[in-house]
Structures are given as structure tokens and as C-alpha cells.
Symmetry: C2
Subunit: 341 residues, 2 copies
């Protein structure tokens, strides 16, 4: 199936079909110079399949991990495109998760003031998150995603069979973001997590989660307001993520970060879902360090911060609170020895 | 007066008024953190006047010249904004010519995926050129403006009295771009150059030239097609500019670059106008070097290139020709010993 993302002249389809990778050139215009960007953690065969479908491919493999989202790697990619004589009519195709689509999408947005880009999403997390909405970025001065652009791709391709070959932990990591969207916007999707076996319902979960994010992005492309609901669980989650220093995945941190933002009855239903998905519900870290990281991560010396709260499953509200009021919320899920208090 | 640039939600006014610099905070929203970016060739008092009108100014002075349009300087600016805790609601104001608006506009476009920017234009060249259309960029790998973004400012301010204090050569350099726009689009403006004293008609020339560029940009914001007519004189001009290595100003190179692109009758009327403006009509350079620079500058290994021709004053046409066909055109205006053949 195809899920249209309608953003006027920046509209594009998300193609979600088993076997779609083998037909990539029917969905992407690859009859030009193409930078195929992937990382060394993605099975090489996916990028090679894309490259084989291009008239003039240039394969660039960057190291896996956030470290590649840097000015240094960005410049290397841009230099390769220049050396190969890329014009404004050529394009970038990213093959992998959110890291490569963030990096490659940003490169495409600044090369000659913007060339086409496409994404082949090979992780559950990037399929439900980075594939919708055109946020691209690199990290800078120790702050995640602080330099970037809104750059909508021309199309995104998801072949679900590539996702089921992921390590189990990565699949669960991605599903945390789908749980997040269910909580804020779709009670029926949340029930699917409560009653069914998520690994058997993967395609349906993907479609529903993508549609939720698509609906939000269509109404608020550049995060003026509504789009902030997608940050549910991310405020404390980001603080945990940078303090954990790689030990916890993004979705795992979001899972923990959602808990203090829920009402008591919602939390009571969320906990068993996270346990079923074998996602963590607390972090064994120093809460003071998490609070410090979160303050730094606010990207501003703000005294107040916007947070998203879920009082009832399927709806949410945005609240502006003093930064200091997050400290007890952190304490409720972060303890030096782990586990709930 | 105010000249509106209508680009839907990216619309903005160009304020062209004597004394406007002293009232800058009535035109720009400066009640926030403001990076005031200028270069050391711009009279310091202009940037200081802007800074004095800001609630929280941060003055950044970069070295004059194209060398500042680099990743290194960009990163330094972004780091300063981060250190000062700039949020998505803060902004950049550039004070100077096209170099600072290119650099500062690009910084604003990537900082947290885009914050507001404003420009105070203090050169004739940037007033008629960079102030309209939102092209921002840095140079990379020896190629001018190859990395950048389309980033429309929130407003542009031109106080004509700041322009008349420019060195005479800089004023004439800027007027070359106005002559360019007259040739492709406005026969009446060209007559103004033929009959009057341009230095006495500066305000009217500015308004007419800005309106021409504005009309083009409104119909083709991202240079898909029509906007290319603004490149009239720039193909050979850029080749001359990079070969001259700083000895010739941009407008001077454009003046020379226009001549081979005109029909014989147009050239006969253009030559006396350029002479009246004391702009060069030929360059004392090696034509082979200019051709080599131009090939490199095409930003692609294209065999063919788009050029703009003026057969009749006030209109033009875009033509795609083999790159090699430019060689005799270069020879007609570039000679090792200078002067016309």
C-alpha cells in the first residue's frame, strides 16, 4: 500500500510493501547520479540492491551510530558529490535507519541549495518516525539534532520483510515509538498492543503509527505547535538517552520517559504493555545527571519547558511547566540502582 | 517606501527609506536574542546602531571577503549562538553586503532547522541583488555558493544614505547588476542609465532594479526556470571573477560578461553606458584560464550550459549551448594584455 503525505508541493508517498526493495526503481527516479548512503550496521545487500537499480550510483558507507551525524562527515559526503559532478538534478537515497536519513536528508537539503532525496527505511523506529515529516539534522557541540533542515523526501520505501530480520531488541525499540503515538492519538492502536502479539501485527502497527504521525505533520509541518505532541516521552527520555551514553536505545528511553507523563490509570495500563514488549520501565542512572543533561538538552537556557501529558489513552495536552518541576518526575523512573522505588 | 516580496507564508517587505536604520526596531522584531553579524569592512557604527536597538544583542564580526563564507566560520557562528542559549524564537540580523547575508542567512536556516533572519543592506550590490530572493550560501571545495539554502528573510532594510558613503568603485560595482536587470527586463530603466546621471538617480534605480528582481523571484522562487535570467552576464563573469582572484569586483566581471551575450545593436548601446559608469569592458587575463575556471564553476561536468542572451533591450531568452561554444565568446572580452581586440 501507499500512504500519501500531503504537504502541497512537498507531498510524497510512503510505500509500504513486501518486496518493494526489489522494485525500487519503479518508485524512485534513479535514472541519474545517485548518492546511496548507508551505514556499516545495515546489511550491505540493501544498499547494493538500490545501487544496482541506479544508472550512476555512488555508494557511501558511514560508521553506524550518532557519531556520523557531524559536520565532518557531512562535508565528506558533499565533497564526494562535488567530485563526482553531481548537479541540481541528481539525488541522494538513504538506506537504513533514522541516522542515515537525518544525515543524507540534510546533505541533500544544502547541496546546491537543495536536491531530491529518497529514503529506504530498514528499521522499525525510522519507519514509524523519521520516515514521516522531513526532519533532518546533524549533532553539534554535544547537542543532538541542533543543526538541520525541514527537507521532505520525494518518497519513502519500507519493505516490512527487511524489518523482521532486525535484532529483536531493535524491533522493540521501534515499537516504543508506536506505543507513544497510540497513547497520544489512537486508543484502538493501544488496544492492539494490549490484546495481540505485536510481532504478528507488525504491518498493521506500522500503518497505523505512520498514519498518526502523518496526520500531525500535515497539520503542522514545521513544528509550530501541534507537532510537539510527538515529543511525548521525549523530554525526560532525551535526558536519559544522553546520560546512558549508548547503553539504552532511543525507544527504550522514550518508554521510560512516557511513564511520569501519564495519569495513574494510564500508567497502570502502560506498564504491562511495556513489560510485554520487554521495554525498560526505569533506568539505573544518577537522576541528578539526567536532570543536568536535560537542562543542557533544552537547547536554550529556558526556565520553563513544554511537556506533553496523557490523562486518557488516545488524547493528550501540552503543558508549560518550570524546568525544576521535572526533577521529581525524573526521580520516579531513574534510580542509581534501577528498578521502581 | 516598502516593496513587498510576495512568497505566500514567506512574504516579506524591503524597506527603502532614508533614516530607516535609526528606526530599525520599528521594522524588525528585536525584542529577543539577536546575533548581529557584520564584517570588518562595514562601518562599525551600522552594526552598533542595530545592536543598540536589540534587547539581547550578540555582535559577531567576521573578516571581510568571500573567505568567511566557509564551514569553519559557519560553525563558529552556530557555536556562539548555542553558547548564548539561542532558542528557535531568537534571530539573526546581518549588517553589510551579500557576503554577510549569504553567511548569516544560511546560519539562520540551519540553526535548529531554521530561525528568523533579517538583513540591513549597506551596499548597492546587495541592495539590488542579495536583498531579494533568499539565496543564501557558503563556498566549498573551491566552488562559490555551492552549499546553501533558500531562506527568505523576515524583512530587509536599506537606508540609501549608507550606500552613498561607499567608495565610488563599490557603487559602480553594484550598479552593474542594475544595468543587467535593465537589459533583460526594463528598457525604461536602461534609458535612465543612458540619459541621466546614475549617482543622482540612485534611489529610483534601486527601486526599479529591486522590483525587477522581485517580479522574477515571485514567479520562480527556487530557480526552476525563469529565475535563471538573473544569471545574465554571470556565466563568463564568474569565470573571470575566479581567475582575477580578487582584482575585479563581482559587478565588474558581470559587466564584462554581459557584452558577448548581447546582439550587436544592444552591445553598441551597452558599451557607452558601461564607460559612463567607469566599469571595465574587457579583462586582462588568460582566456584559457577563464574557460577552465568556468568549466570548473559549472558545478557539474556538464557538456552543455544554459546562457542568457539579450537581442533587444528589455527582453531576453535562455539558450542551451555546448560549453565549448563559450570559448570564442570569452576571447572577445578577455585578452592577456587587456583592451578590446
Amino acid at each position: 500500500m501507499q500512504i500519501p503525505v500531503r504537504l502541497k508541493e512537498r507531498s510524497y508517498p510512503i510505500i509500504l510493501e513486501r518486496g518493494a526493495l526489489q522494485r525500487v526503481n519503479t518508485y524512485f527516479d534513479l535514472n541519474r547520479k545517485v548518492l546511496v548512503l548507508t551505514d556499516d550496521g545495515v546489511p550491505r545487500v540493501y544498499a547494493e540492491t538500490v545501487a544496482a537499480a541506479c544508472r550512476a550510483p555512488l555508494l557511501e558507507i558511514v560508521p553506524q551510530g550518532e557519531g556520523s551525524k557531524s559536520f565532518a562527515v557531512l562535508e565528506r559526503i558533499l565533497a564526494r558529490m562535488l567530485e563526482a559532478g553531481f548537479s541540481r538534478k541528481d539525488c541522494v537515497v538513504t538506506v537504513g535507519g533514522g541516522m542515515v536519513s537525518d544525515l543524507g536528508g540534510f546533505a541533500a537539503s544544502v547541496y546546491m541549495r537543495g536536491i531530491d532525496c529518497y529514503a529506504v527505511s530498514t528499521t522499525v523506529l525510522s519507519s514509524v518516525d523519521a520516515s514521516v515529516g522531513g526532519k533532518t539534522a546533524i549533532n553539534f557541540a554535544g547537542i543532538k539534532n541542533v543543526i538541520g533542515a525541514f527537507k521532505q523526501p520525494k518518497a519513502v520505501l519500507i519493505a516490512p520483510e527487511t524489518l523482521s530480520t532486525l535484532p529483536d531488541r531493535q524491533i522493540r525499540n521501534g515499537l516504543a515509538e508506536a506505543v507513544k503515538m497510540a497513547l497520544t492519538s489512537d486508543a484502538a492502536l493501544f488496544s492492539l498492543f494490549e490484546t495481540g502479539d505485536p510481532s504478528e501485527n507488525l504491518d498493521e502497527i506500522l500503518v497505523r503509527a505512520i498514519q498518526i504521525k502523518r496526520d500531525v505533520v500535515e497539520r503542522d509541518e514545521t513544528e509550530q505547535n501541534l507537532r510537539r505532541i510527538l515529543n511525548f516521552g521525549h523530554t525526560i527520555g532525551h535526558g536519559i538517552e544522553s546520560t546512558a551514553n549508548g547503553a539504552l536505545y532511543h525507544g527504550e528511553c522514550v518508554a521510560i520517559g512516557m511513564l511520569p507523563m501519564c495519569s495513574e490509570p494510564v500508567r497502570a495500563r502502560l506498564l504491562p504493555v511495556l513489560q510485554k514488549l520487554r521495554l525498560p520501565t526505569s533506568a539505573a542512572l544518577d537522576p541528578a545527571a539526567v536532570y543536568a543533561a536535560l537542562t543542557h538538552d533544552k537547547k536554550a537556557s529556558a526556565e520553563r519547558v513544554s511537556i506533553v501529558r496523557v490523562d486518557e489513552i488516545g488524547s493528550c495536552r501540552i503543558e508549560t511547566v518550570p524546568l525544576a518541576s521535572l526533577r521529581p518526575l525524573i526521580d520516579s523512573v531513574v534510580h542509581p540502582k534501577g528498578g521502581f522505588p
